[in-house]
Symmetry: C2
Subunit: 232 residues, 2 copies
């Protein structure tokens, strides 16, 4: 994520709580709010940890973030989302950026960016907020589609549970850069060391086999195909 | 993952339990053991859900799978791993394969493959199993490095908590293919529909700035650079 100076948010450190205080690998913890925003902006799939019928469950699900609130949704029938309003959840967004190939196996690692959010999600019932939250969620994964595809009907809205989690309590961890054993005794070994970056990119658009002839992909989709993606 | 017929495992369905029975979107649930194996083989980062000091926490962490057991590890100081031996965990591996761009926002979705494992992890204390598990974990992320980099010392082994989770209780979900509204009334709309695949690939090797001159990257790393990666 690049952010130009004029749209940088005011410096606002993340509050530390008992749950988000970094206890080890302190150098990987970030208390910079803009890191949280960047990590959330770069993805569209989170891992939602929630207790369902007494069982801790980690579910991948789509999300949207407007900078204050993280929205995620699902069918009314989804067990984990029906369970979530009653209980604290943890939502984690992770981008894997590459391998850290050190001189020793023990020092091997992964370059990554992750944000962990804690809180009790609030079901969104206000119709206007529900539409805004669904728009946020849709545009996070597929920018341009809210104004292009058919918007939700009243019936579809009723069938959707939308949950809102504030970004108040977050733990951000980032690891970048080369291995750290370049000044260890291991550096004398004849072992190559460095990193192997992992990239994600959008492929070519694949038309639905049932697409009626003569319908071209709109520019917001055509221009995205073949470009780098942040989702990792 | 492509699998040639001769190395296909014997057909072995995944056992359904109360936790893994698919209750909705049944078409996305797989009870095929080879799907579980493929999904685990295609990645190296999982999301570990574990209760730490009473707080549900979802932590991204590296894993290795030998087809029977999933291994994950960490420093002795890691709170979530110290907590894990006492409690049931959920480990989820997810690959995001692309966007499903339907005619309506409501039908938008994500093509993905995910495996969710439930169980109580066992700390690995036997030295031989510990070495084998660490090898599995290292080779999952960085094939070839176990035989190339310096192996763990006795001290390093002692500082590593290795946990083993059997693959016995798993829930596998897969969504592939085009949108599903091609025969809905929405298909009459002038809206393009299809999928936008997401690809991951390894970039070019980045040497450690402290790498001594004259050390070339070994073939197992040089040949991996620039190739498609399964990790998504």
């Amino acid at each position: 994520m690049t952010r130009s100076p004029q749209d940088a948010p005011p410096a606002r450190p993340l509050a530390e709580t008992e749950r988000t205080r970094h206890r080890r690998l302190r150098e990987q913890g970030s208390l910079d709010r803009s890191d949280l925003d960047s990590i959330l902006a770069a993805g569209f799939v989170c891992h939602l940890g929630v207790t369902v019928d007494g069982t801790l469950t980690v579910v991948p699900t789509a999300y949207g973030s407007d900078g204050e609130t993280l929205y995620f949704h699902g069918s009314v029938a989804s067990r984990s989302l029906v369970a979530a309003p009653d209980a604290a959840v943890c939502v984690t967004v992770t981008h894997v950026d590459g391998l850290v190939l050190s001189r020793s196996v023990f020092e091997h690692g992964i370059n990554y960016r992750s944000a962990m959010l804690f809180g009790v999600p609030r079901p969104v019932t206000d119709p206007d907020e529900k539409l805004a939250g669904l728009r946020c969620l849709t545009e996070q994964a597929a920018p341009g589609q809210w104004d292009y595809a058919r918007r939700p009907s009243r019936k579809e809205l009723a069938a959707t549970v939308l949950l809102a989690l504030p970004l108040d309590e977050a733990s951000v961890k980032i690891r970048t850069g080369p291995p750290e054993d370049g000044d260890d005794p291991d550096a004398a070994r004849e072992v190559w060391a460095g990193t192997l970056p992992l990239h994600t990119s959008w492929g070519a658009l694949v038309p639905d086999p049932l697409l009626r002839p003569g319908i071209e992909a709109p520019p917001h989709l055509a221009e995205r195909a073949g470009t780098p993606a942040q989702e990792a």
